[in-house]
């Protein structure tokens, strides 16, 4: 079968790619999607460990992660809509009111 290592390394790679996307993209929505990508990578790791060690607890956690991701996406996108309305741009670099 496929060794657990492989799944975990894949998870790490996807996580890293998610970070790259998070840092380099300028569209707010794309950045959000990068966050979702990172969450998915973590889910993969959870499921791999769960199946490998024979405990279903990991998969229950995955369910919770998905629920939380959903709630977070809903609220986050709501905020994005508001920001886009006031700032008239989806470029995250235009949101710079905290600049000194």
């Amino acid at each position: 079968m496929v060794p657990t290592n492989y799944y975990l390394i894949l998870s790490a790679i996807l996580f890293g790619l998610g970070i790259v996307a998070f840092v380099f993209k300028r569209n707010i929505i794309t950045i959000f999607m990068a966050i979702e990508l990172m969450l998915n990578a973590v889910n993969l790791a959870f499921v791999a460990f769960s199946q490998s060690l024979g405990k279903p607890d990991g998969e229950v956690f995955v369910l919770f992660v998905i629920v939380v991701a959903a709630a977070e996406a809903a609220v986050g996108l709501g905020i994005i809509i508001l920001t886009a309305r006031t700032r008239r741009s989806l470029n995250v670099e235009r949101v710079d009111l905290l600049k000194l």
Partner: protein, 166 residues
């Protein structure tokens, strides 16, 4: 090279390519669709490992609900191609090395410590829906109720946020 490994590598490649596509694409809608590809690939991997319920939930909730939500918002806001602004020199120059560092750290840590784990076997009563739901309502009933509360809060928040100003 067993069949499982072949399927694994195929699905893994698909996931990685989807992630790279997410980074490279300029229009957010293309990025969204790439993300859907990644999720489907991951669902496949879950099936390969024997977690059917999770695979199903992944497709239904993640792919069917969350990503649809994303696409709706993109359409609503009429998001166009990305501007090519670059106000942060730090992000440009430090981004990739840091991401590599994280990946390397996690990867190395994992590799060293988990080499002795047994491979995940598909099938088995262990991860059937019945087992999961029993766990959910016995050992994890408290977090379960909390997440329901969380969803309620999210709904309320989203409604308040998206209201038009009267």
């Amino acid at each position: 090279m067993t069949g499982a490994l072949v399927i694994f590598f195929a699905l893994a490649a698909l996931a990685v390519l989807g992630a790279i596509s997410l980074i490279v694409q300029r229009h957010p809608i293309h990025s969204a669709l790439s993300l859907i590809v990644v999720m489907v690939a991951l669902a496949g991997l879950y099936l390969l490992m024997g977690a059917e319920f999770v695979a199903a939930v992944q497709i239904i909730v993640y792919g069917g609900a969350i990503m649809v939500l994303f696409i709706f918002v993109i359409m609503l806001l009429n998001a166009g191609e990305e501007e090519r602004t670059n106000f942060s020199r730090l992000a440009t120059f430090a981004g990739v090395p840091l991401a590599l560092a994280v990946t390397g750290l996690i990867g190395a840590g994992i590799a060293r410590s988990s080499a002795s784990l047994p491979a995940p076997e598909p099938g088995g009563v262990l991860t059937s829906t019945r087992t999961l739901s029993t766990l959910l309502f016995s050992e994890f009933v408290y977090p379960f109720e909390l997440t329901s509360f969380l969803i309620l809060v999210a709904i309320l928040g989203a409604i308040v946020l998206a209201q038009r100003e009267n």
